[in-house]
Symmetry: C2
Subunit: 201 residues, 2 copies
DNA sequence: CCTACCGATCGGTAGG
DNA sequence: CCTACCGATCGGTAGG
């Protein structure tokens, strides 16, 4: 009844959350396949064996991390604001939320975007990710159908490039310095919807 | 004096080019760290040890592949067309050429974009890549300074998002079907410079 | 290019 | 019986 984790009381040990957070940090630095359990142990300040007290194995660590990212994205899909109103407005909302989730769950989404399907865990994550992609792709097509988006570009290609720009955030965004998530989303939407060319150009 | 590679005469064996091409294909499928020399051997139809007849090691295979990508990008930087005229026109030319090189050297650039600096080879490639990034970043700033690009967005952020959209091509482009490199560049430039919003919207 | 291997390290598990 | 690990080692595989 005092503390959930007695070890933490003494300033030692790890809870499931800290193990996951540190592991994902190392995975993103070295790559999942490039990270050994020994490296993970070093980063956690415990022995390699002690990791297995906290988590069934390396792959489950990956699975939990990928769920963090995917659950965030699917919470957005389930939101009523993604389902009512003009398609262009829903698309804008989804893009804004995507940037927010990317920034909020940066290490988890970063890991997700690097998954290539090397295991059952990775394949399952890829399938969930593709499902989210299809959702956004459908939104772009609806926006094109209602005439909100220019007709001279292929909606499927537009979706790809949109994701490219949004997902690239994981490649360079540093929470400590630079733009906030809102500033980031604002600039992104301005460029995407209104273009880069100077209005007086 | 008959054939450069005697093994090839009998319809067997590999030349340095085929070894590199097949290896890069496997690296892109499974990830460099996720690929063992045994897997590579299987893909090449030879034993693991036989690979060392063709190439000094796994890392040199990576180094050669990364050079393919980087040499293409730097040939562009050295071109006079990247150095004269209005910044906006030079930027457009560089973006168009970037798409062309990405498509022409797709597997090599794909590999380059996934490098995280896990070895000296990877760190050297990352540094060359950053040099190219700085070149484009400078172009964007020049275009902003001459007033060709809207003043209400940060040029550094614009550069990041530009690269995000362009580089995402490696994530989904299939040479066999879909748009040509020229169509791709055209759509990309339309969206980036003129925006997604319908001109009548 | 293959057979026969090496030093070391891999992810994961034993008893205490 | 529990939590939170440790030192040592398992069967296999890594790059060479």
């Amino acid at each position: 009844m005092t503390t959930a984790n007695p070890a933490r009381r003494r300033g030692r040990g790890h809870d499931p959350e800290s193990v996951l957070a540190i592991a994902v940090g190392v995975f993103n630095e070295r790559g999942y396949d490039g990270t050994s359990m020994a490296e993970l142990a070093r980063a956690l300040g415990v022995t390699k064996s002690a990791i297995y007290y906290h988590v069934p194995g390396k792959e489950q660590l990956l699975a939990r991390a990928l769920d963090r990212a995917l659950d965030g994205l699917f919470a957005m899909v389930a939101d009523p604001r993604a389902a009512s109103g003009a398609a262009i407005d829903r698309l804008e909302w989804v893009l804004r939320q995507s940037v927010r989730i990317l920034v909020e769950r940066l290490p988890y989404v970063t890991l997700l975007l690097r998954v290539r399907g090397n295991s059952v865990t990775e394949q399952a994550a890829l399938e969930r990710r593709r499902e989210f992609d299809r959702f956004v792709s459908h939104l772009v097509k609806e926006a094109a159908a209602e005439g909100s988006i220019r007709a001279d570009v292929d909606p499927a290609l537009v979706t790809r490039l949109l994701f490219g720009a949004v997902n690239s955030i994981t490649e360079w965004y540093q929470p400590s310095r630079g733009a906030s998530a809102d500033d980031l989303a604002e600039t992104l939407l301005t460029i995407i919807f209104d273009g880069l060319r100077s209005p007086r150009g």
